[in-house]
């Protein structure tokens, strides 16, 4: 078990008029190398949950274990945890501040106390991984396009070489091309270096394409924790939480209702294509 959440509760501004129970008794464990999708409507506690994973927010009660160690132990160094659990925030391009793209990406590894050459090497590798070319290394991060800025910001976290990479809605506000680029890069990162990925998103299509297992949050509670297919098979429950299954799942369900013998646990377009073709070749 890489990450274990044990009865985590979190209460915002406790004791004031703004008090809110943001997380209610959250329990789960994540294995090394998994690709987890985290879904839930706005305000369901997704962002709060991921901020617990690298110790940015401290739970009101409960324990979190990373690689078997209690991160709330007074001897545990949170600084180390943050280098191992990389968190890419929503609209990460808003955190860029340096004069050049390259300098901005170096910020992370430099904070880890890595020597100049090592930090530069990591930054260069990270920028390559997210597909930023050599011609942009010396550009000001404020001159780039939205998609490029975001990739630079993701590289800033990747350069710390985390064991777990958490992305909070990495594709929000991007065009379809930019969205696919980023998600494909995340996927190849997952396959090549075997790091654990936790992807928070509102897009059911994205998550069906990439995640093995899904966490579904609703009003601060972890409602479902199952494989992607099993979660989307419960699409009626998802709808009650203002969520939905991918469009193709609905298509397959409609086909089935109209007498076509297709499986209904299909979540991606490719799978759906294969199943439908199979039907006609029979």
């Amino acid at each position: 078990m890489q990450i274990v959440f044990d009865h985590i509760n979190y209460i915002y501004s406790s004791g004031t008029a703004y008090e809110r129970h943001a997380l209610k008794d959250i329990n789960f464990s994540i294995q090394k190398g998994e690709f987890i999708g985290l879904i839930g409507h706005t305000g369901s506690g997704k962002s709060t949950l991921v901020q617990h994973m690298n110790g940015l927010v401290k739970a009101t009660s409960g324990h979190i274990y990373f690689n078997g160690e209690d991160i709330y132990d007074s001897r545990y160094k949170l600084h180390d945890l943050r280098s191992k659990v990389g968190l890419v925030f929503q609209y990460p391009e808003h955190q860029l501040f340096e004069t050049t793209v390259f300098n901005d990406v170096i910020f992370g590894p430099k904070n880890l106390g890595i020597d100049k050459l090592g930090a530069e090497l990591r930054a260069y590798e990270a920028l390559k991984k997210v597909g930023i070319g050599d011609d942009l290394l010396d550009a000001s991060p404020f001159e780039l396009s939205g998609g490029q800025k975001r990739r630079v910001a993701i590289a800033g976290v990747l350069a710390m070489k985390p064991e777990v990479l958490i992305l909070d809605e990495p594709t929000a506000g991007l065009d379809p091309r930019g969205r696919d680029d980023i998600l494909d890069q995340i996927k190849s990162l997952h396959e090549e270096s075997g790091i654990t990925i936790i992807l928070v998103t509102h897009s059911m299509e994205d998550i069906a394409n990439y995640a093995d297992r899904l966490f579904v949050m609703n009003h601060g509670e972890l409602i479902m924790n199952q494989s992607t297919k099993k979660v989307f098979a419960r699409y009626k429950e998802l709808e009650e939480m203002d969520l939905a299954a991918p469009q193709v799942t609905y298509v397959m369900n409609a086909l089935k209702e109209n007498g076509f013998q297709v499986p209904t646990d299909v979540t991606t377009v490719t799978e759906a294509k294969d199943e439908i073709l199979k039907l006609f070749h029979r």
């Binding site: 940015l56 925030f89 955190q95």
Partner: protein, 270 residues
Amino acid sequence: MIRDITIGQYYPTDSILHRLDPRVKLIGTLLFIVSLFLFHSFLGYIAVTIFLFSIIKISKVPFRFIIRGMKAILILLLFTVFFNLFLTPGETIFKLGFINITKEGIKSAGFMAIRLTYLILGSSLMTFTTTPNQLTDGLEKLMRPLNRIKVPVHEIAMMMSIALRFIPILLEETDKIMKAQMARGADFESGGILKRAKSLIPLLIPLFVSAFRRANDLAMAMEARCYRGGDGRTKMKPLKYSGRDFAAYLVLCAYVVAVISMRMLEKRIG
């Protein structure tokens, strides 16, 4: 972390004070602040104390919440007391080396402490019970006569309400950027003063950039809705005095009379 600053915040609850016209509260706060500086003996502060604490009771704002806001000005308060205590010339009571505490010093330090505390309590009570929008509406209406001498009252009020509106947004943004940089290993808490000041750069630059972006967006949105200043502009919720506002004015008058008579009594005694 940054959200814990309660001073100047609005505290949403339903009390008579919350429902009062903002103009009453503004005038009341002004009168209260003036009354704080009237007295030169502790006796006089009895009326002020009674008034302040009954208002706090009526406001339904938890005392704990108010006190939490006071923590922010504790250092300022200590400074004032310190300087008044040690630097007021007069009849010496206690002397140790260069430290010289005088009778007048103790007296003026005590007054300063009371005045400052009550001043902050009184004015924060106004912000606790009045939304920023109401507050600027009230100010605009109260300052309306100044329009005649070419003071751009509406523009000032609009700038104020935008500035007030942006405080929580920028606080939230600061919190977010701080967390994002901490996730990249930034350290805002340790090191000497120079190192700490330097560590703020990754926080301040994105914050400025986002403040300018937001200001730009807002200007655009206002223009898109045909905003063109105050002339001929109507209000969705025009301010109107009701019965309870007149009653509140009566209470204020009673308070002023009480304070003035206390002052006269004080003069006669000594």
